[in-house]
Symmetry: C2
Subunit: 433 residues, 2 copies
């Protein structure tokens, strides 16, 4: 079998039976926003970005999604087949946590930790790898924090026949070798960032040889490598509109699952780093609020150590440190902000997805900051009651929800976005038990 035939066959559906409960379309909040999201700007001209500006980094299928204002985008059957390996992800009522808290509130969690990579990240990794494979890309580069994104993209590339090269924030690379082994098991290649493999990496190392790294630095390296080879593209794990679009399967399913049992979410807690988990979970609910006048409250939970939504400025900024990416209007701590090496590596990003930032700015969601200690205490409480050990990122949402449930005086319905499991973050838990 030739290489070409082999790659082609991997993007074709296998004929697997996909349950009807796996969404057929992604949901795009852009269709329901009362005001359009401010556009991304070309960093040179400061003019709104056109599709051609993005072509060196992304396939046209994803670029069109990036600028789309259609409410629904059909999910390719090959992507649905791969989703069906773990989707629909479970929506579980936390009866034992409710009992432990003695709360009258009803607590549900939507659990994305059942994916092969252990988090919500494969929802977009599979889609991105698919659209790249269809257009002939042979390799994807990316950055990763805790490693969940890098592992997810390696997984997706393996199933769809692409090579995968990952730059991982050095503090996580050193703390969490298991994630790298996970990438390598899927055939991916992983470097600590900053590395001496790129111009931007070498410049950052020259400026601070002992830097623990940041997502912004790692993005610069991955983008630089992708831009140099026409067959190599770049994949971003959060922030961009098309990523948020793919993650909407979380919220679409959660809404359906609640509808099935006659429940309505009064309030939703989701953790926020770059914004993809939060948006995926909550945008379908925000869209319904806008369209139908429902009043589901949305609470973004971010780490106090990296508080872009609660402390950042809302302005145009670069997505990376070297300034290679477009200018994005977002809540930002500044592209040079280097957060403490907290355990929730996936939340250590200086900015926030423009669509999430815009939504917050319009008053369609609220935000809180959670201290790491409180987040882990909530994670341990959750684990001991429900049996699932939440990812450090997810514990921020759990903390918000537990505080709300403790204060509840009615049987309000609380939905937690449990974006991943903490199995590969157990060294972090060891500090808190």
């Amino acid at each position: 079998m030739s290489e070409t035939t082999s790659v082609k066959s991997l993007i074709e559906p296998t004929g697997a039976v996909v349950p009807s409960t796996v969404p057929t379309h992604w949901y795009n909040l852009a269709a329901d926003l009362p005001e359009p999201c401010p556009p991304a700007l070309n960093p040179g001209t400061q003019e709104p970005l056109g599709p051609d500006d993005l072509a060196p980094l992304f396939p046209m299928g994803l670029i069109m999604q990036e600028v789309s204002t259609e409410r629904e985008v059909e999910i390719p059957q090959t992507v649905r087949e791969i989703y069906a390996l773990w989707r629909p992800s479970p929506l579980i009522r936390a009866h034992r946590l409710e009992r432990a808290l003695g709360t009258p509130a009803k607590i549900f969690y939507k659990y994305e930790g059942v994916s092969p990579a252990g988090s919500h990240k494969p929802n977009t990794a599979v889609a991105q790898a698919y659209y790249n494979a269809v257009e002939g890309t042979t390799k994807l580069t990316t950055e990763t924090g805790a490693g969940q994104w890098g592992a997810s993209l390696s997984f997706a590339c393996s199933l769809l026949g692409l090579d995968c090269e990952v730059w991982q924030v050095r503090s996580s690379y050193d703390q969490k070798p298991y994630r790298r082994f996970q990438m390598e098991t899927y055939g991916g290649v992983c470097h600590p960032s900053p590395s001496d493999l790129t111009e931007s990496g070498r410049a950052m190392l020259a400026a601070d040889p002992d830097t623990t790294g940041s997502l912004g630095m790692a993005i610069s390296e991955a983008v630089e490598v992708a831009a140099q080879d026409p067959n190599t593209h770049y994949a971003l794990g959060s922030v961009l509109n098309h990523v948020l679009l793919h993650q909407s399967v979380i919220g679409i399913e959660a809404m359906d699952q609640l509808d099935q049992i006659g429940e309505r979410a009064d309030v939703i807690f989701g953790c926020a780093g770059g914004g993809s988990n939060l948006a995926g979970l909550t945008f379908p609910f925000i869209g319904r609020n806008v369209r139908e006048g429902t009043s589901t409250q949305i609470v973004a939970c971010e780490p106090a150590a990296c508080p872009s939504l609660t402390q950042g400025e809302y302005r145009y900024d670069h997505g990376d440190v070297a300034g290679l990416t477009p200018l994005l209007k977002m809540h930002t701590l500044g592209k040079d902000f280097v957060p403490l090496p907290i355990h929730a590596g996936g939340l250590r990003y200086h900015g926030m997805a423009p669509m999430v930032s815009h939504t917050l700015n319009l008053g369609l969601m609220t935000a809180i900051a959670v201290e790491q200690e409180d987040a882990f205490a909530a994670g341990v409480e959750f684990a001991r009651a429900e049996g699932i050990i939440p990812a450090p990122e997810s514990t921020h949402a759990v903390a918000g929800a537990i505080a709300r449930a403790r204060a509840a005086t009615t049987d309000e319905t609380i939905l937690i976005g449990l974006s991943g499991n903490g199995v590969l973050d157990l060294t972090a838990y060891a500090d808190y038990v």
Copy 2:
């Protein structure tokens, strides 16, 4: 809330909705065996063991299951509610692996790695913790190899309000600290074995201070501690009849899931260490073979480094090194056999469940031994095609199934027991990629 009330409330059902696809009864192969399984013997008198002999270690609810010959045993509602956190576990057709192998065979896998502990072990851990809690036990002790059993029992004890103390085989304790952190996150306590905390441990250390440990040694320590306190009981993760009974949910579900799509398994591959995963997956099919004359072939896959079924003698032997446990008729390498510290720690047991041994002896199943290198090669091949990284234990079954599928000339149906995921065993994979 008093301690008593608290424990009592944890054993009561919460009222959670349990899907009808979660089994209501466990299946007991003893009811269908053409000849009864040879009884366990009292190590002192060499007479068949009575319920009273087991009372110092186990609650009466489990003892009655140990000696039961009823075909069906009802699953308590509290246990079903906890099962529903991850059950029914998925049965997935491995379309992408089939395509990669170019086989005409249909390959399915029953995936137990979705449980909170990442393996099949919680199926019995929850049941054992439940029956102990009901009868007033306040603490359980146990042994563990790779740590999947210790983590599973810690999880179950946490949800049901029991303390949990675990002795982990030293080679795994040193290799795999994440499992210990997992136990601790659930509130469990974990010691390396042999330890200086018990008489048997001190004797083993005196005999060989550098021993890497074995499950047989760790069992001696856990049993010794449990026997000293009437409120402390012992829990075994495999081998005994009641453990195999609880695991039957795997095979019951798999048979139902295949029936639902009009498939019949021609051959089933399951990994075999103590025998609980293998029995849980295959006994319902063996029972049907016996009752209805179906001809599903069963292949036990054990590590070449610890080949009790393919190389052991079939005779009475102790379950532990110190000789504290009853004598069990089983395929055994001898209670003093110390297997190499292979990565599949859960398969490093000198003996095999009496019921599995008897079944093999009656010709109701077959067995093969798999080299570690071949097992991991199969695990990597599976991961890159299907996206799930199998536990090192499970890779033995995957290797057997892949060899069968490569040789297949018809569209026969192959079922793999994927007993767990390898997320906490990625250091092992790192040696093979």
